[in-house]
Subunit: 334 residues, 4 copies
């Protein structure tokens, strides 16, 4: 950690700060410039409160030189992590195609969609049983019953199932789910993350609406530090001033996260845009940009979908898109 | 709800959409303009999926004309809500001053700060027992023990206590807490909100980092629709491109929320700025802008505070600030 | 235009508003709902001040149903515009590859880069002669001399040249430039836009850092309404809270603009990310997302570049990238 | 400037970088930590391209320790700058009240408003003659004629006049204007800024929609480095995801700029909110937050204003507000 002092700081106050830092067990390397003094802190700075130091009136600025995340840091894990879900591999050159309806509605619906997306090349099935909704008056999902329907669809198709967990108290219902999704609104629900760290199932962790990549990695760190290394990161759009799409898809996050972490990185173009006809170009863009997979909403009857029909593709649209994705994938994988 | 169709829509597809809308039990009022047709939907549109309709290729845009929130809507509750916490009243012209340390650390610390802020005019005590931290390696709060220390401070000073709840599973520890705070990261933790709706204690609901005012009100609606009307809203800064403060304090939210809802609105200048020396001017600004109260971090030894010391005032700074707040309050309350 | 009145508006005030609107020559269609009254304004609403009406205390909200842009509106120009620059065509299925250094520095440099990018498949040369710099102490470009060097490079390679114009007063120096670029900071320099409308050269118009797609189109409208239809739009990243890249590349703008306008749309991954090693994946993503072309910074010696070396590719990197772009382009163009 | 190298960098590449830095005439101070090496650059780093170094694959991050602005830096000018406009002083404890219509429309209008705001305590008159409008079809201002009308109003009331300059080519019309305003869209129109640096009139420089405080100061630096020290900074709202107001007023900018610069700082609550009824609370908030003045839109007939009527106060509203501002000012100035 580097601490830059303001110009003309009194010798006494400077000595006081240095004493205080030393009292934390840190070595201090002092470098006097023409205009400013820079302190280099040597040792374990992970418990040093950077904001506190920055707020001192004698301090100009502070900079951390080592990232605060370890378990998910590529520096310590140079090889790609490959998450395995049954026969499906994610990461390390393996591309995954997750598809399915926003909400599970009926057995007929989920089985039909599952068969359709499988035929188009999907290797995992998504479907919401617990739905986070802005309004308490909106449909909140079939909950436990929805998970049972997903299992039926899995039995019919062999596709592993991915579904969202919203609360620690529902965890017992997810014993037989293949991948647990943490939604954007829960990315910093730290109690939930910690519990998932000891649940022993792969976790699909979505980036929050207004979270930085470092915060996303720190949330992965919560899960991993509790013992679960099977984490898949998901970029799904951030909130910006731009208002023509629901969110702004931040695809540069793919190569940037690739440098910072060894975890697989997938993209959700459906929630990112919120508009079905923008999903195919953004799915192709994400593939070309190096994503390890895509999670896409597909519905057999978007006009009657109970939620988020606006962003769902019809099975025939998904089928056409899959073929293009595969062609792009071939170019990129070379 | 108003649906604007695109130009040159085929008669058949238009008829199909109208049929579908009628099938939901809605009356349809058709208005043909020179360029576009506008459909006015009459009846209960609360279950109509606005996004789905907007995504149809024959639709140009959709507009909701009635807000989706009811319990917290000033239209249906013209008089200010006054939340009562013991003898303390919040809202309806009553100004509340909540102060205390970021984290509860020791009995000595919390009692000393409580006495100091009471002497300066604070009428409620804040202190974190459960702390949401970005990093799993940071101090997470004293938890249950912290709440016990807060109760001791309450006994010593008579100040009601406000502290953050992060998880439904901790709720039993909050039976004897006066006001439960929902932090910015949990503003859309819907399970938690619903549980608080039946807990029977006043709730201080903070606006999320990237949430609109409507979303804040919908979260209040979750609590109120579950039976608890005692909700206090709190503006605490939003995340923007601007990087010199931790967040950007959005003070225009005060008069805007005032129009939309009858709930009290307070401001947290400490978390909004993250820098102690910016807290006084922003506390004064919030007061002048019409806030119903302030929640401010005060610490007796910021240099050693376990978290967020950067944004805490010393007791003597809080004392000086309180006097100015009161003077501003007199001008505004006229 | 649709005006939604608030609940319980006095008959008299409502009548007053309607009179005022009629006085502007508008027809008014009144639709009374259970809760609210909606006024449909019929006729030429282009001069109605939407913000003013929205601010009236009896008005809940206002919605424009026809876009305020005409010249660049696909509704009125269903076929793609093809901008022609010598033999090079942009738009309508023609892909353009613009490449070159951030700044023109020496004859040797610009000619060498021009030859290199041409060999890799570029069909236009970019290079900054006038440089917008945040600091008055930074290198501001070779100005007129830089344009002369660009012309030499054009003569040597046959590549048309693209360079930025910052001020109306420099326009005489651009008589022999092939495409004039308007930078992000000047997207709403309306005097400049108007002048370019009568200059008779193709314009490459970059989206501003914090501008919506509608604002970008209105700026294109300024140029087109003044008589110049040869406008190429360019997405180059927007400013958001996200801080690991210089800007956030908003690729969904490509398919969205495609719907709204018939103008060609290209992408600048160099300025969007500001980091050379993120340029290739984002260039591929933009191509897969449907862009009509790419503008990429290439420098033969980034370590010594006078500006923006950080985001420049070396010629051999550009060459490898070009081949991948062409492969992606083949998939997408099918 | 501090350069943090990545872990495990090859000795040879590190030596190469150090040589390159030394070749720029810099002294290099090397500090080896447990994980990383930090280079401290000593000497004139103002011409070092920070982004270029940061982009090198052996570099982790770079930090500038001295700000790149000098003329407007409080470090070198500890005393408040007081800008004098005739008898009016701005800054250094002097509060200025600028008021007037968005656009100058007629002699009658501008004179009437000028008299009204003067009677309410305003000490400068604003009025737009050149209007930046998003649409080429909107009213663009009376231009030269508008400036003549402002002069008449000045003659009638003695109030100095403030009006916006959009283009260098109009500068001759501003010879007899008291304060030239640079609007948000032109904050980085560097040619204009440079010209104003030699024009010898006080400049009111508005913060751009998406500009940081450092960028605002760098733009002031353009003017000051060209010889004109009479610069007044103006916060007028930034663009964020928040959509209920036109912009988000960032009041913490006042105390933060106060630390960084000695220039006066005023606030424009009219453009920040875009809604007349939010102007009074935000004007009071800005005053309480320490602003050196306010610029507020006042119109005698907002219903018929040619632009921005939505955000204008009526003279009687401004009068009531002025009294409250003065009372707040008394509290703050103590």
């Amino acid at each position: 950690m580097i601490v830059v002092l303001k110009q003309g700081v009194q010798e006494e106050r400077r000595a006081q700060l240095i004493e205080w830092l030393k009292a934390m067990g840190l070595g201090i390397h002092i470098s006097d410039g023409d205009y400013q003094t820079v302190l280099g802190l040597i040792g374990d700075t992970s418990k040093v409160d950077m904001d506190l130091i920055e707020s001192l009136d004698i301090v100009d600025s502070v900079k951390r030189v080592t990232e605060p995340f370890k378990c998910c840091n590529r520096k310590f894990h140079p090889d790609d992590m490959i998450v395995e879900v049954g026969d499906v591999k994610i990461g390390g050159g393996n591309f995954c195609m997750i598809a399915g309806p926003c909400s599970v509605e009926t057995e007929e619906q989920i089985v039909e969609v599952a068969k359709a997306v499988k035929a188009s090349g999907a290797n995992m099935l998504r479907g919401g049983a617990f739905k986070p909704r802005t309004s308490p008056y909106d449909f909140q999902g079939l909950k436990g019953q929805g998970i049972e329907l997903l299992k039926i669809a899995r039995q019919e198709t062999g596709l592993p199932i991915v579904t969202e967990i919203m609360s620690v108290s529902d965890l017992h219902l997810f014993e037989d789910v293949d991948v647990l999704q943490v939604g954007a609104r829960n990315m910093q629900n730290f109690d939930l993350l910690r519990e998932l760290g000891s649940f022993g199932k792969p976790i699909l962790l979505k980036r929050g609406l207004a979270n930085t990549l470092k915060e996303l990695l720190m949330s992965a760190e919560y899960i991993m530090a509790s013992g679960n290394e099977q984490v898949i990161l998901c970029e799904r759009g951030i909130r910006t001033f731009s208002d023509y799409t629901r969110n702004t898809l931040d695809l540069a996050a793919i190569p940037m996260l690739r440098e910072l972490t060894h975890l697989p990185i997938i993209v959700d173009p459906s929630h990112a845009t919120g508009i079905a006809r923008l999903v195919p170009p953004m799915a192709l863009a994400a593939t070309a940009g190096g994503a390890d997979g895509l999670i896409i909403e597909v519905h057999n009857d978007p006009m009657h979908a109970l939620c988020d029909g606006a962003q769902s593709l019809r099975p025939e649209e998904y089928d056409a898109l899959s073929k293009q994705i595969m062609s792009i994938r071939e170019v990129v994988a070379k």
